[in-house]
């Protein structure tokens, strides 16, 4: 059973752990270096990217996660996780992992009153649309190889992949659709890098 650590500094980590269990993986909370070392893969959940970023620095997890990712540890980032994975965060110098060759715009669809749900076409997940839950969501302004866009909404990139890294602007963990988590565990995590 795959051991998947969910970064639990702040945000919706509980929901990701439930999704992992439903997919037949073992999810556990990661707050410290010892817990990080047990990860075969990792999820960075939604939350506030400034809060999570600062706590990553404060508790000295930022560099260890980057090193593990460079050695091939798969990471899925949702919403704040997408922001933290991005190399460039437009208009911000906040702490980040910066692992994906993308430019991200925070709160790109507007404030909470503009948060929305929409059906998404995500070709890698099959023909059935995916229930997208966007909460003060970011999108990617720019995606450079080796990163590639996997889905768009209203012309904006809302899902991307780079080797064993996967990021989504929406929250699959707030739905009952397991396909993003399955795609991460079965396809992205096993990819050659």
């Amino acid at each position: 059973m795959k051991q998947v650590g969910v970064l639990a500094l702040q945000g919706a980590f509980r929901e990701h752990i439930q999704m992992l269990e439903l997919c037949g993986a073992r999810g556990f909370e990661v707050r410290k270096l010892q817990e990080l070392k047990r990860c075969e893969a990792m999820i960075i959940p939604g939350g506030e990217s400034t809060t999570i970023g600062r706590l990553l620095v404060e508790f000295e997890l930022l560099d260890p996660i980057c090193n593990l990712a460079r050695e091939g540890m798969p990471i899925l980032g949702t919403c704040a996780g997408m922001v933290l994975l991005a190399e460039n965060i437009i208009g911000s110098d906040q702490p980040r992992l910066g692992l994906m060759r993308v430019s991200v715009l925070r709160n790109a669809f507007g404030r909470q009153v503009d948060s929305f749900e929409a059906r998404l076409d995500i070709p890698v997940l099959g023909p059935e649309p995916f229930p997208g839950v966007f909460i003060r969501a970011p999108y990617l302004e720019e995606v450079q190889p080796p990163a590639e866009a996997l889905a768009t909404f209203m012309g904006k990139v809302v899902m991307a992949r780079q080797g064993r890294l996967l990021s989504a602007a929406f929250h699959p963990e707030l739905t009952s659709d397991l396909r993003v988590h399955r795609y991460f565990l079965e396809t992205v995590a096993g990819a050659d890098v």
């Binding site: 929901e15 404060e58 009153v113």
Partner: protein, 296 residues
Amino acid sequence: MVAAEKGTWTVKKGLAEMLKGGVIMDVTTPEQAKIAEEAGACAVMALERVPADIRAAGGVARMADPSIILKIMDAVTIPVMAKVRIGHFVEAQILEALGVDYIDESEVLTPADEEHHINKHEFKVPFVCGARNLGEALRRIGEGAAMIRTKGEAGTGNVVEAVRHMRLIMAEIRRVQNMPDDELMAFAKNIQAPYELVRQVKELGRLPVVNFAAGGIATPADAALMMQLGADGIFVGSGIFKSANPAKRARAIVMATTHYRDPEILAEVSRDLGEPMPGLEISSIRPEERMQDRGW
């Protein structure tokens, strides 16, 4: 071809899910908002006065001036909440028009309606409401609150009431979980809560929405105490900007909320924080000045 649906229950409740494990701080100026964001706050509450000052000033406390709220919204990228008086749905309409991210229908302000709370289903912006017990929490959720917090006793720097309210809510949830289905209706009647929501509590083993602690939290230890008692996150009102070193205390409370079960980290972050806010003994507050008794 693509339709986006705004203000759904999922996105209202969802934002609160994203705030979990975090600290929401009361701020009265853009400078304070920046200090809070820099310290790792997951959201700020924009106010004209913190509860301790509202308590001291007396008189009628109302929604803050929109220009204060807008300045704070401009200063930070994290979500901005603001308070309206209980039952004052027009103040809520105004905050929604300003684009505030969350509305707190709060007992800290002077109630505008002594019988009815706001019908929160009517709004696209989500609401958080205070509660002292399970019945009160479920009535607020029934009216459309997408997030609950304990009332505690705001502006006192005294955590005792927040502890009382959190313990009571958790104890009632455990009771419901162990209750046979045929006793749920009478229980719902006794606590004056919607039956459907009581059933959901039994199934989930928790409230159907996120439940934060609020009202009197002043130290990292207070925050960790509330988390260990079952809170999903923390509101700190007067506790930060009424203390001697707000930036340091704010950071310490954020770290304590993340590592709430780790006494070594709690010991480390509790050191050298300077004077906390001065506290108030609850029995020294006249009954008519107790904020937690506002609303029902």
